[in-house]
């Protein structure tokens, strides 16, 4: 019995070693994004909270949008809202820091990370990062596991829980299909009357953002949210007060999949764990055999 198990293990070891040579394990997917990738700069000091972007987004995505006049009702700001399956972007209001400032309104939507956690977490590849910066979701591949919702550091992906048949993951898609893949600005950018949203190449937007800070050091804090957060995002924000006070999470500057991906991918690189495990077990058995032979 013991003999046959040993031969089995030997055989398994040979198989696993050949597997390492045959197939290279896949590390973090190479960043496909272009240097000229697009983005949007949101200047929260210019936003007036008119919510035209919310309306335009719903119309663009075929969601029930209601009457545009209802969007001037500012009582919605009494509660904090999150993007959900009925609204892919929402505007929230935060109190002013002092009496000379006005309350601040902040548009929330998918940040379109350069290293998206949702793409990393999706086990079927339904999420992809496009060359132009957009992070989009493919209905045909999704199995509804909702790992993306857990993985997202900004808690953006939403799920149509009310739908029994073919519920979708809902999140801002950077108007990829209809606009940004053709180089056109997103629906919300086009709707913004104050041009609080600026659509353009990400590196240019970063330049513009720093230029604005330099010219108006009293108006802005010296921080462009999204320039380095979670490794960089396509949506960038300028603010007059600390971003933590404006409902932004403290996400750090490391890519969100940074913690999980290297561990998983590194451990399984070169098939290390199985080989190590078998080597250990084999060693123990070999030692056991030695000592039993000595006893005999």
């Amino acid at each position: 019995m013991s003999q046959s198990r040993r031969s089995f293990l030997k055989a398994m070891g040979t198989v696993s070693l050949t597997a390492v040579g045959a197939k290279e394990s896949k590390a973090t997917p190479k960043n496909v994004v272009s240097d000229d990738r697009l983005g949007v700069l949101v200047d929260t000091t210019v936003c007036i909270g008119c919510r035209q972007c919310e309306y335009a987004c719903k119309v663009e995505h075929g969601l029930p949008a209601g009457n545009i006049d209802d969007y001037s009702d500012r009582s919605v700001f009494e509660t904090m809202r999150r993007p959900d399956h009925t609204a892919l972007t929402v505007v929230n209001e935060y109190p002013a820091e002092n009496s000379r400032q006005q309350s601040v309104t902040v548009k929330v939507q998918c940040m379109h990370c350069d290293h998206p956690a949702c793409v990393s977490a999706c086990i079927v590849g339904a999420f992809t990062k496009q060359e132009n910066g957009a992070v989009i979701w493919d209905e045909g591949r999704c199995i509804g596991c909702r790992y993306c919702m857990v993985a997202c550091p900004f808690q953006i992906p939403a799920f149509e829980f009310d739908k029994t048949i073919q519920p979708r993951i809902m999140k801002c898609d950077f108007c990829y299909e209809t606009r940004t893949s053709k180089g056109l600005p997103t629906a919300c950018v086009e709707a913004c009357p104050t041009e609080a949203l600026t659509f353009g190449k990400r590196y240019e937007l970063i330049q513009i953002a720093h230029e604005r800070i330099r010219k108006n050091p009293e108006r802005y804090i010296d921080h462009v949210f999204g320039e380095h957060e979670v490794g960089g995002t396509s949506w960038l924000y300028l603010g007059g007060q600390e971003f933590l006070r404006l409902g932004f999470p403290d996400v750090g500057t490391n890519p969100a999949p940074g913690a999980t991906e290297p561990i998983q991918h590194a451990i399984f690189k070169f098939f290390v764990p199985p080989v190590a495990l078998y080597a250990l077990l084999g060693g123990i058995m070999w030692l056991g055999k030695q000592s039993s032979e000595e006893e005999e």
């Binding site: 007036i48 500012r74 009496s99 006005q102 309350s103 009357p193 104050t194 041009e195 230029e211």
Partner: protein, 376 residues
């Protein structure tokens, strides 16, 4: 030591010559390229210049008064959604005087007269210069700043329809309503007489600021001090209870010397009396009293004593024939009216007692009058 100085001098000349040669092309200047160019590699054919780089901004050089400002503008670039917005330009220009004047809106004006927004901000957003808002963005970004702070809870009076009336309420077609809007003026702000403020300077905590005197006597315009007063500074609900505060910077540049050396100029133990010119040793009489300081203290920031000789100011108009002597209270009779000033006022010294001895041996002023005394 001398030789050392000469060597250093030669080195300095050489280095400055070589520096001047280096400055051949402006790319070598200590400037940031993106300050003026919006593209990465400007060429002579395509310099991709930004229209309003900050550092060469000279702004409006041909000024006109607020009263000469255009009264109304009808902004109708968004006609598909809203009725045209009627912008009361002159009224806003008036309100802007305490914000920073015309420049608070006409910010990057090229040197010359005031340019309209559309000169730089085109209706379509220029994708090659994303830092410049389009006309719509420029309008909104400027308007919103005040309209939000004016309507502090940002609820009813500053929503979209405040400026963009619904199509049914279009007033841009009604000449009567337009004429009424054109008449609108911001009421002249009240000018309080005096502020007595308390400072944290323990030895002499009371600062007396004669606000009205600074305007009407010292000839300051509102915008000399009120450079960035927001509408809400007066109109917010808590404006009346807000304490007036003054910083030393507010009193620059006129009181620079006092701030540095003479605290007692403003600070005292109790309220100070207003400025009185008599204390300078030259009490102002009826004519000078009504003048602003700058009329005599020309081009002075901090006023200092002037030559009290009348001719030091009255150079041209106080010559014989051009001067009506009656303003002094003495109307000259026909014998004296033709005489040269110097005959009585020796050496043109009008402060000294006039002399009659040139012509009369037995007469003297004021016992004898060369005409008659009239009421002033």
């Amino acid at each position: 030591m001398k030789r050392m100085m000469i060597i250093l001098g030669i080195l300095f000349v050489l280095s400055s010559v070589s520096f001047a040669q280096q400055l051949g092309h402006h790319a070598k200047f200590p400037l940031r390229c993106d300050e003026c160019h919006y593209c990465k590699k400007p060429t002579y054919n395509e310099p991709c210049l930004k229209i309003a780089p900050n550092f060469i901004r000279e702004g409006i050089t041909l000024h006109h008064s607020v009263e000469d400002a255009p009264t109304l503008f009808i902004i109708d670039t968004l006609q598909n959604k809203y009725a045209p917005a009627v912008f009361t330009h002159r009224l806003h220009a008036q309100m802007g005087e305490m914000l920073g004047g015309c420049e608070s809106c006409h910010h990057h004006n090229p040197p010359g007269k005031v340019q309209p927004c559309i000169e730089c901000h085109k209706p379509e957003r220029q994708l090659n210069d994303l830092s410049r808002p389009s006309l719509k963005g420029a309008y909104h970004q400027l308007c919103i700043d005040c309209h939000r702070s004016w309507d502090s809870d940002w609820s009813k009076t500053s929503d979209c329809y405040f400026c963009h009336p619904k199509a049914s309420e279009d007033i841009s077609q009604s000449p009567k309503q337009l004429a009424e809007l054109a008449k609108k003026r911001h009421p002249v702000p009240k000018t309080p007489e005096v502020y007595v403020l308390k400072s944290d300077y323990d030895e002499a905590p009371v600062v007396t600021f004669y606000h009205k005197q600074h305007i009407f006597t010292f000839g300051l315009a509102c915008k000399n001090c009120h450079k960035d007063n927001a509408c809400a500074d007066c109109h917010a609900s808590d404006a009346k209870t807000k304490e007036i505060s003054l910083e030393h910077d507010n009193c620059l540049p006129c009181h620079e010397k006092a701030i540095d050396e003479n605290c007692e100029h403003c600070h005292g133990i109790e309220q100070k009396a207003p400025f009185n010119h008599a204390k300078t040793g030259w009490p102002l009489k009826v004519f000078h009293q009504n003048l602003t300081c700058q009329t005599c203290h020309k081009n002075q920031v901090e006023f200092s004593a002037l030559n009290t000789n009348c001719n030091s100011c009255h150079k041209a108009n106080w010559q014989s024939g051009a001067f009506s002597h009656s303003v002094t209270g003495v109307q000259l009779d026909e014998n004296h009216v033709e005489i040269d000033c110097e005959t009585c006022h020796l050496n043109h010294n009008f402060n000294a007692k006039p002399q009659c001895t040139e012509c009369h041996e037995d007469k003297s002023f004021p016992k004898d009058i060369p005409g008659k005394i009239i009421k002033r």
